[in-house]
Subunit: 513 residues, 2 copies
C-alpha cells in the first residue's frame, strides 16, 4: 500500500469515520488496460520505417566517439573517420532487431518492486532531468541534494511510481562527486530501480560498482540481471555524442538497460510534420539499438520516443498538444512494428501547477497509456518543459497516476456484484446507503483520492478556499515527515560508504565528452 | 474557424508576427479518432442487459404520470394503478429497440452546424443545469439571464462546442416565463442545436412553437426533422416522475430528441458496484426508450449514461474517478450492445478551476472519447458537480476540446510529408527552422493553443506569473466583446417576439409535475 491511503485517512481526521478495513491497492506491476491505439495506417508506419532505413543507409549519422565508430565498422557499417559519419545498412539494423530482447525483467532486491518490461506492461517514471526545484513554501531554486533526497522520498512513497528518476539535479554537489551522492541517495531511500546518468566511462563504472555493492551482488549476479537504467538522448538531428555513445556501449557490456530516446521537437531539431519527426526519431533510435546490440547481442534496450512540437511563432517547446498525442500514438505503432518495449513521455510547458499544467500533462499521459507506452517518463512533477521539478505538481499528478493504476485493475465481473437483490431491496426514489449490498462493500468499494477535495462550496470556502495546488503542500510535507526508508537500505548504504570515501579522496570522476 | 484562432492572434500582439495564412480548422462534425474501448467482457455486458430486463420485468418501475402508464399498458406492460408500478416484459423492450433509430441528423438552419448522431460520431455539449455562475471578476452568484446570454455566446464562439446547453439557470426570470427567455436567447445568439427543458406540457408546447417560428418551419418541416433536444433524468432508482415522463411523450410525438439519462451515483441512488449501477442505469434508460418508442415508433432517442460514484465516508458525489471512467466505458459497451447512439458526461467536484478540476474533467473527458460517446455533456465549464458554471473553467476546458477535435483530423499520410529531403538538408546537430520543408508549412503546421502560455519562466514571471485560470478571464471577456450573432438570428428572433409577448400577457406557462 502506498502513501496515498495513509495520507487520506489522516487528512480526513480519522476518528469515528476511520475505516476499520483499509483499502488495498496493487499498483506495483501494471498491464495496459486498453488495446493499444494508433493514428497512422500500417502502410504509413511501414513507410516511416523504410525511410528511416534510407536515412541510416544513404545519409548516415554522425558518431563522435571513436570506439563507437569502430563497433559500427566491425558490424559492417560504412564509416568515414574524417567526417565521423556512419552509414548503417539495413541488414545490420535487421540483425540488431533480432537480438534486442522483446521482454526482460527490471530487477530489484524487493520482488514487489520488480518490473516486467515488454509490450503490454505499463510503468510510470517521474519528471526527470530538471535543473530547478520548486514548492510553494521555498519557491523556485536551483536543485540541491536536499531537493533530490526529498523528491526521491516522494517517488518511493507512491506505488504507482515504478522507477526512480533524476528529478531535481543536486547542483550543490560538485560534478565529479555528484554521481556518488545521487546513487547513495537512491539506495538509501528507495528500493525501486535506480536511474544512472551516462556522463562518461568513469562515472558509469563507479555507478556499476556502487550498484553491485549496495545490492550485494557478485559480478555474475550483476551481469545476470538488469538492475539499473539510463536514458540516452541522441543529439537530434542525426548525431550521437561522446557520453551518449559511451553510455550505450558501457550499459550494453554490463547487460544494463539503455532507454534510447531521441528528443525530436517537430519544427526544431526534427522535420515539422509529425510523420517526419517520427521518422527521424526512428532512425536515431535504431542507430542506438544497433550500437547496443553490436556491443553485446541481447543486451536490454527500450525504444525511446519523446516527440512533440514547438510553437512556430516563438520556437517555444510545447507539450500535451495534439501533435504530441499524435507523435506518441505513432511512436507506439513504430515500437510494435519492431516488437520492442518502448518509452514515451508526458509533459507540460506550464510554469506553475495550474489548469494548463494539468491539462497538458494529462493529455499527454492519456496518450501514452492509450498508445501502450511500456514506460511513461515525466509522468509526475515536471514543469516548464523539464526545467523545474514541482513538489505540488508531483502530488497533483500522482492523483492521475493512482487513478490510472486503479483502471489497470479490472472491475469484478461476477454476476453477484450487480446486486439485483439490492435493486429489489430499495424502493423507487430511495437510496442505497443502507442496503446490505452497500454495507458489505462501502469501506473498500471506491478508490480514494489523494488531493481532490469533494466538499461543497460552503465547506471548501470556510476551509480557506484552497486550490488543489495549495492543498498539495500539506500533503508532500506530511509524506516527507512520515517517510521511512525501506528495509535493509541502511545496510545497502553502509556497503558503499567506503567506496565513495575512497573515490572522493581520489578526486572523484569527471564528466567526459 | 472558431474564436480560438482570432483570440490567439490578438493575444500575441499581431504585428510582425501575425500570420499571413490563418490556420483553418474543421471541428464542426467529428468522428471518433479511436476504436471504442471497453472494460467489461462481452459476457458481463450481456449479463447486465439480462439483469436489467429482469428488473423491468420482475421488479418494475414506478411511473408517476397516468398518461405514461396508459401507453405502457397499451404496449402490453403490467400496470398497477394503485402503486403506479409498471412491469415491462422483454418482448416490449425488444420491440422498442427495433424502432429506435440507430442514426439520425440533428438539424439546424446552418448546414455547418448540423450533427449526424450515430455510433462513431462525436459531439461535445457544455456544462449544463447549473444554478450558479462564477467568474474571477464578479464572483460566484445565482445564475441570471445575463449569465445565460454570456455563456450561450461563449458556446457559440467555439466550433468544438457542438450543441447548446442550459449552462447557468436564469433565476432572475420568473419560472413561468423563463422558457421564453431561454429559447429567445438561444435563437438570438446561436445557430447551434438548442436545448429545451422538459418542465411540463405547456412549456414544451411553447418551445416547439418558438422553434417552428424561429426556424421558419411549417408543421410538416418541423415534424420531418430533429431540431431540438431535451435531457430526461429518471429519478433513480426505478422512478420516472411527471415532467420527465411527459417530456419523453411530448418530444417523441413531435419527433424531437430525448436524451434519456439516469443519473446513477454508485453507492447513493444506485448499487455500490460499477456493474450494479450500470445495470440499474440500463434498466431505467430502457424504460424511457420504451416509452418514447411506444409513443411514436422511430422517434429519436439517445441512450444516456451518467454514472459515477460517491465518496463513501462523506456521501459527496465524485467525478473523474476510476469508477467514473469504468462506468463510462461500460456505458459505451451497453450502448453498442443495443446499437444506439449514447451520451456520457465529463465532470468534476472541484470548487474552482484548479488542477483538480482539470484532472477530473480531463480524466472523464478522455473516458468519454475512448468509450466512443456520441455526445459528451458537461465537457466545458462545469464546476462543483454541476452547481456552478465557471467562465474560466469553460475556457480552460475548451483548450482540451479543441485539442481533441484536432485529433479527429488524422495526420496527413502522404509519404512526401515525411521530409526525407529535409533530413538530408539539415546537418547533424543542426536545426530545421529554415529548412524548405519547414518554411512551406510553418504558418499552419501546428494547432494553436487558446489559453496555454508557452513562454519561459522569466517571461511568464515578468508578465505577472498568472495561472491559466487567471489568464482565461481576459480571453472570455475578449470573446464576449468580439461576439457577433450569427446571420439571420435577428430575423429568427423577430418571428417569436409577438408569440412571447402574447404568452407573457397571458401569464406564461407554469412548470408542471
Amino acid at each position: 500500500m502506498g502513501a496515498e491511503n495513509r495520507k487520506r485517512t489522516r487528512r480526513r481526521g480519522g476518528g469515528a469515520e476511520k475505516p476499520a478495513v483499509a483499502r488495498q491497492t496493487r499498483y506495483t506491476q501494471l498491464r495496459a488496460p486498453f488495446k493499444p491505439q494508433g493514428i497512422f495506417s500500417d502502410d504509413a508506419i511501414a513507410n516511416m520505417h523504410e525511410t528511416a532505413l534510407r536515412i541510416l543507409e544513404e545519409l548516415g549519422i554522425k558518431v563522435l566517439l571513436p570506439e563507437a565508430r569502430r563497433i559500427y565498422r566491425d558490424a559492417g557499417a560504412i564509416v568515414d573517420e574524417e567526417t565521423e559519419f556512419v552509414r548503417i545498412g539495413r541488414d545490420i539494423v535487421e540483425a540488431a532487431l533480432k537480438t534486442a530482447p522483446p521482454s526482460f525483467r527490471l530487477r530489484t532486491k524487493n520482488p514487489d518492486r520488480e518490473q516486467q518490461v515488454e509490450l503490454g506492461t505499463l510503468a510510470f517514471a517521474p519528471g526527470a532531468g530538471c535543473p530547478h526545484a520548486t514548492d510553494r513554501e521555498r519557491g523556485r531554486r536551483p536543485g540541491s541534494l536536499r531537493d533530490f533526497e526529498e523528491t526521491i522520498k516522494l517517488q518511493q512513497s507512491f506505488d504507482a511510481m515504478h522507477v526512480l528518476g533524476p528529478s531535481a539535479e543536486p547542483q550543490d554537489v560538485p560534478v565529479q562527486l555528484r554521481h556518488y551522492a545521487m546513487a547513495r541517495t537512491q539506495f538509501a531511500l528507495s528500493d525501486k530501480p535506480p536511474f544512472i546518468y551516462a556522463r562518461g566511462k568513469a562515472q558509469v563504472a563507479d555507478a556499476f560498482e556502487m550498484t553491485r555493492l549496495a545490492l550485494d551482488l557478485d559480478d555474475d549476479a550483476f551481469d545476470a540481471g538488469v538492475w539499473i537504467f539510463t536514458i540516452i538522448n541522441t543529439n537530434s538531428p542525426r548525431q550521437i555524442d561522446v557520453p551518449m555513445a559511451q553510455g550505450i556501449i558501457d550499459f550494453a557490456r554490463a547487460n544494463q538497460l539503455s532507454i534510447i530516446t531521441p528528443f525530436c521537437l517537430a519544427g526544431a531539431m526534427a522535420p515539422i510534420t509529425v510523420a517526419g519527426a517520427l521518422t527521424l526519431q526512428h532512425a536515431e533510435a535504431l542507430a542506438g539499438i544497433v550500437l547496443a546490440q553490436m556491443t553485446r547481442a541481447g543486451s536490454p534496450v527500450i525504444y525511446g520516443g519523446f516527440c512533440s512540437n514547438v510553437a512556430m511563432k516563438s520556437g517555444a517547446p510545447a507539450f500535451g498538444t495534439p501533435e504530441h498525442v499524435q507523435a506518441t500514438l505513432g511512436t507506439g505503432q513504430l515500437a510494435r512494428f519492431l516488437g520492442l518495449p518502448w518509452r514515451g513521455a508526458a509533459g507540460t510547458a506550464a510554469n506553475t501547477s495550474d489548469a494548463q499544467a494539468a491539462n497538458e500533462t494529462l493529455m499527454s499521459f492519456w496518450a501514452n497509456v492509450l498508445a501502450g507506452a511500456t514506460l511513461t517518463v515525466h509522468s509526475a512533477g515536471w514543469l516548464e518543459g523539464g526545467l523545474t521539478f514541482g513538489y505540488e505538481k508531483f502530488i497533483n499528478d500522482m492523483e492521475a497516476l493512482n487513478a490510472m493504476a486503479e483502471l489497470c485493475t479490472p472491475p469484478p465481473e461476477d454476476i453477484a456484484a450487480i446486486g439485483f437483490d439490492a435493486v429489489a431491496e430499495v424502493e423507487p426514489g430511495g437510496h442505497f446507503f443502507a442496503a446490505q449490498h452497500t454495507m458489505e462493500r462501502y469501506q473498500t468499494a471506491f478508490h480514494e483520492p489523494l488531493v481532490a477535495d469533494l466538499s461543497n462550496f460552503g465547506t471548501w470556502s470556510e476551509a480557506g478556499g484552497l486550490t488543489s495546488t495549495e492543498r498539495a503542500t500539506g500533503i508532500w510535507k506530511q509524506v516527507l515527515q512520515d517517510f521511512q526508508p525501506p528495509p535493509n537500505s541502511a545496510e545497502a548504504v553502509s556497503r558503499i560508504e567506503q567506496f565513495i570515501a575512497d573515490r572522493t579522496a581520489a578526486g572523484g570522476a569527471e564528466i567526459e565528452g
